[in-house]
Every structure is written in C-alpha cells, then in structure tokens.
C-alpha cells in the first residue's frame, strides 16, 4: 500500500542555487571579457549579433577519458546496416536521437561552458560599472522615447487598471470602522462584501524621456608605422568605445577621421580598412576635428568626445602644435583621450590599473619618462602631453589585446574620476 501526497503549495527549491549559479556566470562573463573584447568576431558587429562567451570556472571538472582512438565508444545501430571503418558523423547521430540529445555533460572537448549573449547584453555587463565623465544635459534635447508611468490612484478608471491592493485596503479600513461602530459583527459569519466606493484605479501618465546627445570623434593614425597589429588594437579599442557610448546614449554620432600627414574624414569602412602609408602629423587630424566641431557640433548642444589612437611616432616638429590642439580640444570636449598603441612597451596593467593618466605619476611605472623607443625624439608626444593630463584628458597605453579592457576601465572606471 502506497501513500499519495499532493502538494498544496509549490516550493521552488532550486531558487537559491539557481541565483548562485547565475551570479557565477555573470562573474565569469566579467572575467572572460578581457579576452572577449579583443576578439575579431565581435568587432564590427551590430547589436543583434549573438556572441558566444567562453566561461571558465562554471564547468565541473572530473577525471574523464579523452576522445581518441584508444578510448572507444559503444553505440547501437538500430536497423541500420554497418561495417567496419564506416565513417559516422556526429550530426547524423545527433539528428536521429530525439530523446536524450543532451550530451552527457562530461564530453571532452567541451572545455568551456558557453553562454550566448547579444552585444547589447555584453555592453550591459561591460559598462554597468563605467561612467561617462562629466555628462551634461545640453541645450538640444532629443525626445526619443515616451513611456507610460503609474502615478497615484483615482476613483474612476477602466477595469484593467483596478488596483487590487488599494481596493482591499479601503475595504479593510471600512470593515474595521464598521466593527468599531458596531454595525458589523465579525463572529456572525456574515460576509462583508466589497462596495463600489472601495474601488480604486491606477492613474497613468505619459512620461517623456529626455536624452542628451553626443558626438564622438574617432581619430586614428594610419601612417606607415601603424602596422596591421597596431591597427587591430586601435580598431578593437574604438569598437569597444563605440559600443559603450551607444549603450549610454540614445543618440550618438561618430565622426571618423584618419590621418597620416593629412587628415581625412572617412566612413566607418574606410576608417578601419584603408591602407597605411606616409608620415605622421598628429595635428592634422586634431585640426580637422576642431574644424568639424566648430561647423557641425556646437559644444553648447553636444557632448563632445575625442579619442585619438596612434603609435605616438609623430614628427617631432609637430609635437608642440599637436599639444596645442589637444589643449584646445580639451576645452570644448567632455573628454579627450590620447591612446598610444605600441607593442614595444611591455606595459603591465595589473588589477589596480597602473597607468599614469592623470599626471599624478604615482604608478609604479613612470610612464611619463618611459623611453622604450629607440629614438628618444619620437616618443616625445606622450611626455609632451603630460601637463594636459587631468580628468578631462587621459592618456593610456595599449601594447597588446589584453590591455584594451584595463585601459578602457582606466578611462571610464568610476573610481578613476
């Protein structure tokens, strides 16, 4: 004889372990992001694209056998005729299974536990802790979105907006009063029904969301010294920046300027793909940015950001002009960034982010005086910019893909502002 027990109320036993697991995934995503942000596959994608993020640490490791010739598997062939040496595809086996297709989680090769997230979600993970410095609401406001918000209660309203909570509160209040005044005896077993006056409805109000507008200038050195690797780093950095700004702003415009000895306003494609030749005049790009700001994006209406990426190998004669232009940009811009890409610098970003950007020079590595270059002269731009460096002007060094995220954090991380 067995016993049957019906569960009256549902208990979600796994809830706490699920949220713990979720937290672990989120943590792991944040940790894997250093690798992910520099990956070719995400760069240049739009927000809808799903990105696979490999996650370490979520996997439960055990001793298992490897997938090789010594370690044989056994299967049933059902009605199919088989012979030795026959090639069997994983696809066919998987397609024919139906039930139980969930691979036993211990298959080798499944090194990572992958999570698929969209670029938008990635941005959320990445940028939640970051802030745009000095964000101002400028004169031009873009009403980009109307949302509806609940605001208070009314006695009249349509049925779907009935507030059960307020209604029952009023009924309870009325009941208490009735008991106190002796008009209702709770022990009589008589019902105490709702009254029409108890009903309360939510009141809603459309709300205009206001958004500031921003324009960001991407300035990149495309001179001969910008090798493929350097361009790749610059591109990764810009891509991340673009995603970040798009995440923070409803409306964002990007101006692409590439320069060698001459600056050119280009489209996105050309910006990242055009060949690299010629010498370097940093000031040419800065001039152009200043000119465009002057004509198209007045600082009173726009949040301005200028990010310059280059290898720092400027013509030494141009350095003083460049510094002057940078200073000018700094005045109208919310933030100006000078990002130097040079793999010769064996920069070590540790977790505390040791790069001297604010000119404080407290880091263990003296960036301002670093001369990893063969020719002392060409490195002068970094040093020459040191006096500008403050919270509106930041300098970072990116020497390898792993530096992108720390550099980025350094610019926008809230603790650095």
């Amino acid at each position: 004889m067995s016993i049957f027990r019906e569960h009256k109320s549902r208990v979600d036993r796994a809830a706490s372990d699920r949220s713990r697991h979720k937290k672990k995934i989120e943590k792991a995503i944040k940790e894997s992001i250093r690798d992910v942000v520099a990956e070719e596959s995400i760069i240049g994608q739009n927000g809808k694209k799903k990105i696979r993020i490999p996650i370490r640490g979520i996997k439960e490791y055990r001793f298992i056998y490897g997938n090789n010739e010594i370690n044989k598997n056994v299967g049933a062939a059902g009605q199919h005729s088989i012979r030795r040496g026959q090639k069997i595809g994983k696809k066919r086996a998987a397609g024919a299974q139906g039930q139980g297709a969930g691979e036993a989680g211990n298959q080798p090769g499944e090194e990572y536990y992958d999570v698929e997230i969209s670029l938008e979600e990635l941005a959320e993970y990445l940028f939640n802790d970051l802030e745009l410095p000095d964000l101002e609401k400028k004169k031009f406001r873009f009403i980009s979105q109307e949302s509806i918000k609940r605001k208070g209660y009314r006695f009249k309203g349509i049925r779907p907006r009935l507030s059960k909570k307020e209604t029952i509160k009023r009924k309870i209040r009325r009941k208490k009063k009735a008991i106190a005044s002796g008009t209702y005896d709770p022990s009589s077993g008589e019902r105490f029904p709702f009254h029409k006056d108890d009903l309360k409805y939510h009141h809603i109000k459309p709300k205009h969301k206001e958004h500031s507008s921003a324009v960001v200038f991407f300035l990149m050195d495309t001179s001969g010294s910008m090798t493929k690797e350097r361009k790749y780093l610059a591109r990764s950095f810009f891509f991340l920046l673009y995603q970040f700004l798009r995440y923070k702003y409803e409306k964002i415009e990007v101006v692409f300027i590439s320069h060698s000895t001459e600056a050119q306003r280009v489209n996105e494609d050309d910006f990242f793909r055009k060949g690299a030749v010629g010498g370097t005049l940093v000031s040419s790009a800065l001039d152009m940015a200043l000119d465009i700001i002057d004509k198209e994006y007045h600082p009173s209406s726009w949040n301005l950001y200028t990010v310059y990426c280059g290898d720092g190998e400027n013509w030494s004669a141009d350095n003083s002009t460049a510094v002057k232009r940078f200073t000018q940009l700094k005045e109208s811009n919310q933030l100006t960034v000078y990002c130097e890409i040079n793999e010769n610098l064996s920069a070590t970003y540790d977790d505390s982010g040791i790069v001297d950007t604010a000119g404080s020079g407290t880091g263990p590595f003296d960036w301002a005086n670093a001369s990893a270059w063969k020719d002392e002269d060409t490195g002068a731009l970094w040093g020459a910019l040191a006096p500008c460096a403050d919270k509106n002007f930041k300098r970072v060094v990116v020497a390898q893909p792993a530096h992108i995220w720390p550099a980025f954090n350094l610019i926008f991380g809230t603790e650095n502002q």
Binding site: M1, S2, I3, F4, R5, E6, H7, R10, V11, D12, R13, A14, S16, D17, R18, S19, R20, H21, K24, I58, E60, Y61, R62, F63, I64, Y65, G66, N67, N68, E69, I70, N71, K72, N73, V74, G75, A76, A77, G78, H80, I82, R83, R84, G85, Q86, K87, I88, G89, K90, R92, A93, A96, Q97, Q99, G100, A101, G102, N106, P108, E111
Partner: protein, 435 residues
C-alpha cells in the same frame, strides 16, 4: 486540470501492488509525491532527494534541464524514485493516468531492485533521508556563519565534487584493518626472511577513497572543511550502487512494469498509451547506449532462456559489469546491432571499429562494459603519503588515456584540498606522465 483523481491512483496502486506481490517481488513501501512540472525540475536537479545540501551545480542542472525541455530536446522523466525506506517517488500532475499507472509499476520494479540487489545492502535506506537532512542543515549553517560564508563553503564543495567519484566501487566488501594487516605481514616476514614490507607505509594498501583519505590525513584543513568533505563522500557512497547498476536497475524496472501491466489486463484506452510510452522508453538510441533498452533486452533474453525465477536471482547478485559480462553473447550483440567506434585524429571524424560478428562481438562486449556507469570514470588512488606530507596519486591506467585538460584541473582541486605537495602519475600515449 488533471483528468484523474487521487482515488484512481489509489485504486491502480492497489492492483499493481497485488500483481507485483503475486510475482514474488519484495519492495519498500512507496510514498508518491504528486508535483507539478516546476517541482519536477527541482526534484531532478537534486537527484530526487527531498533534502539535499545547497550548491550552485544543482542550480546549473536545473537550468540545463529546463532549457533542454523548453527546446523540446528532452522529455521530463515520467519516473523518479529514490532509494530509501519508504521509497520516495514523484508523479507529475501534468501526466495522464495511463502514464501514472506505468510509472507506479515501474517504481515498484526499482524499489524491489533497491531492496534486493546486494550492491545496495549498505546504503541504510531507513535513515538516509534524515542523514541528508542533517547534512543540508550543516551546510546551511556554514553558509550562514559570518566567519565562513558561501564562498568558502563553495571552495571546498567545488573541489570535493571534482573527485566525488573517486570512492571505492565495491560496496559490501570490508577490508582488513591496519592492525590485522600488520599482524599478517609480521607473521609472513617471520616465515619468510626474504619477504619484506614497510609496516609504517601510509596507506598500507592502495587507497581508493580519495575524499576520506584527504579529510583524514591533510594537515591543512579545518574541522568544518573535513566535515564538508565527509558529507560529499557520504553522498557519493550512497549513489555508487546506483551508478554500478544503472543498466540492470532500469532494465529490471522496465521488465517489471511490462509484466505487471500485461498481467493486470488494463482497459484498451490505457493499453495503447502504455505501449507507446513503453516503446519510447526501451527503444535503442542510434549511436548511443540506452540503458533502459540494453537492460530490458538482456533481461528479456534471460527470462526467455532461463525463466523469471532465474532473472530474480540475477537481480539480486549481479552488478552491471558482471551482468553484461555473463549474459551478453554473440547473438545478442548481433541482434542489438551494437558496435564500437572511436575518434580518428588524423581524419578528424569517428569511424566504426568493431561490429557484432563472430570476430568482433567480444571486443564490442568488453568495450560496452567499459562504457557503462562507473566504468566510464577513471580510477585514481592514493599510493603513498611521505613523511613530508607529499601525496602520491596514481591513475590506474586500463588502456584508456585521461583527458589531460580535465585532469589538470582536478589535480589543482586536489592540491587545494590537500594543501601540501602532490604528485600524480598517469600514462599518456604509452609514456609516463607526471602532473
């Protein structure tokens, strides 16, 4: 909502129990919990146990099942029963009555197996629920303890879980104690002067229980950490018999549910549904081994050749390894169309190696045995603990190489638990490999 009532379940349960008793089965009483889909997911994540300690891996398991189910890649199990006295089984509200009848008959089969199979004799089904409850409470207290907290608890559990299958696989065998062993060795040394063993050696024989050994001998663990490791070890020991008898257990339960249903003469409307479900459960999975199918077919063969009474004896004394080795023959391998295959690195694809003909069937059988239940889990044992607390672990190489990436991670986990130096040796492509 549901098209059946509890009264109907009680009616069918009585009939099932009568029929099963008539067949000479002897099982634990069964408590059926009637739960919904969400709760079933929860129950599955915790391997059916109503009380289990917390760990994120169960949350992961829940999400995995949930996702697979949502994608339509897997059906929820219609049966889930745990080895306890009384046995606890789950019936899902959403299922129709015909499924419940089959499930209940199936559960009787499992419960009978739990009670009769000798692998389960030391699982103490009477108090297992309260044991798990106590463990869950202990873990919860550690998590809530401000001086410990969830992160520290997880560190130990994560590491201990990585070697949770590294426990002895021979339930029921009691080994000689150290004192007994010492006596015997001393006597042997007296009788034979050329014979010599180091009486101080720890462990004095290969120790397969890594968790226990570490929790007893590590000098770097706190008491609560040792207790946690012991909890994981107890947990493993409870599940080892089930892992050793997956094929037999499922095969037996399918055999029993089929016999019970056939004997009960159930109405046609249920019969068709039953046939459909039964065939779904015991069908072969192409390119894989379905333990339900394999066990069911083998028991059918045994019953056909040697009768039901013999089958009952077999369900008592065997485990998967001996069951498959003794009763699979050439005809069976051929009829089931079993084959072995492996990954050919140079070609980057799998090809079939052996098939069930007169030349290949033995090899197929032997590989099959290597591929069921715990035989899929590599054996690693403690060989030596030196004076400076260096632990030497050896992988018992049986022809199959370890997956090194995984092994490396597990090695790190063991190191974390042990806290002192560790040496671990295995064999990779016929060469000795030390981590």
């Amino acid at each position: 909502m549901s098209s059946w009532s509890v009264d109907e379940l009680i009616y069918w349960d009585e009939r099932i129990c009568e029929t099963a008793a008539g067949m000479g089965l002897d099982w634990f009483d069964i408590d059926y919990e009637i739960i919904d889909y969400q709760e079933m997911l929860g129950a599955m994540a915790y391997t059916g146990l109503p009380t289990h300690y917390r760990h994120w891996s169960f949350g992961k398991e829940y999400e995995r099942t949930h996702t697979l189910y949502n994608l339509g890649m897997t059906g929820l199990p219609y049966e889930m029963i745990i080895n306890s006295n009384p046995s606890i089984a789950y019936l899902m509200t959403e299922n129709p009555l015909s499924t419940h009848i089959l499930t209940m008959a199936h559960c009787v089969g499992h419960s009978d197996f739990f009670r009769q199979n000798r692998m389960f004799h030391y699982t103490s089904p009477d108090d297992i629920i309260s044991k798990f409850k106590a463990a869950a409470k202990y873990v919860r207290e550690l998590i809530e303890d401000p001086s410990i907290g969830i992160d520290e608890v997880e560190k130990i559990l994560d590491a201990a879980h990585s070697i949770k299958y590294q426990v002895p696989r021979t339930p029921g065998i009691t080994y000689k104690s150290r004192d007994e062993w010492t006596l015997i060795q001393k006597r042997m040394m007296q009788l034979d002067p050329t014979y010599h063993v180091d009486l101080e050696k720890t462990p004095f024989r290969p120790e397969y229980n890594l968790l226990q050994f570490i929790s007893e001998h590590s000098r770097n663990l706190k008491d609560w950490q040792r207790n946690l490791i012991t909890i994981v070890e107890d947990n493993s020991k409870y599940f080892i018999p089930q892992a050793l008898t997956k094929v037999m257990n499922e095969g037996w339960a399918c055999t029993i549910h089929q016999r019970i249903i056939n004997e009960m003469e159930i109405p046609d409307e249920y019969h068709l549904a039953f046939l459909k479900l039964h065939n779904q459960v015991v069908r072969p999975h192409l390119g894989k081994i379905n333990p339900y199918h394999l066990g069911f077919e083998l028991f059918q063969k045994i019953i056909k050749e040697e009768g039901f009474e013999e089958a009952k004896l077999i369900r008592e004394v065997h485990n998967d390894m001996t069951f498959l080795r003794n009763y699979i023959d050439e005809e069976f391998v051929r009829e089931q169309n079993l084959f072995t295959y492996s990954f050919k690195k140079p070609h980057k694809y799998h090809t079939i190696d052996e098939i069930g003909d007169q030349y290949g069937w033995k090899s197929v059988r032997d590989e099959l045995i290597k591929n069921v239940g715990l035989s899929r889990v590599p054996v690693v044992y403690v060989d030596d603990l030196s004076k400076d607390f260096t632990l030497t672990l050896i992988h018992e190489h049986d022809g199959r190489d370890l997956e090194l990436k995984y092994a490396q991670r597990v090695f790190e986990y063991i190191q974390q638990l042990w806290g002192d130096k560790i040496k671990m040796v295995t064999e990779i492509e016929n060469e000795v490999w030390e981590f």
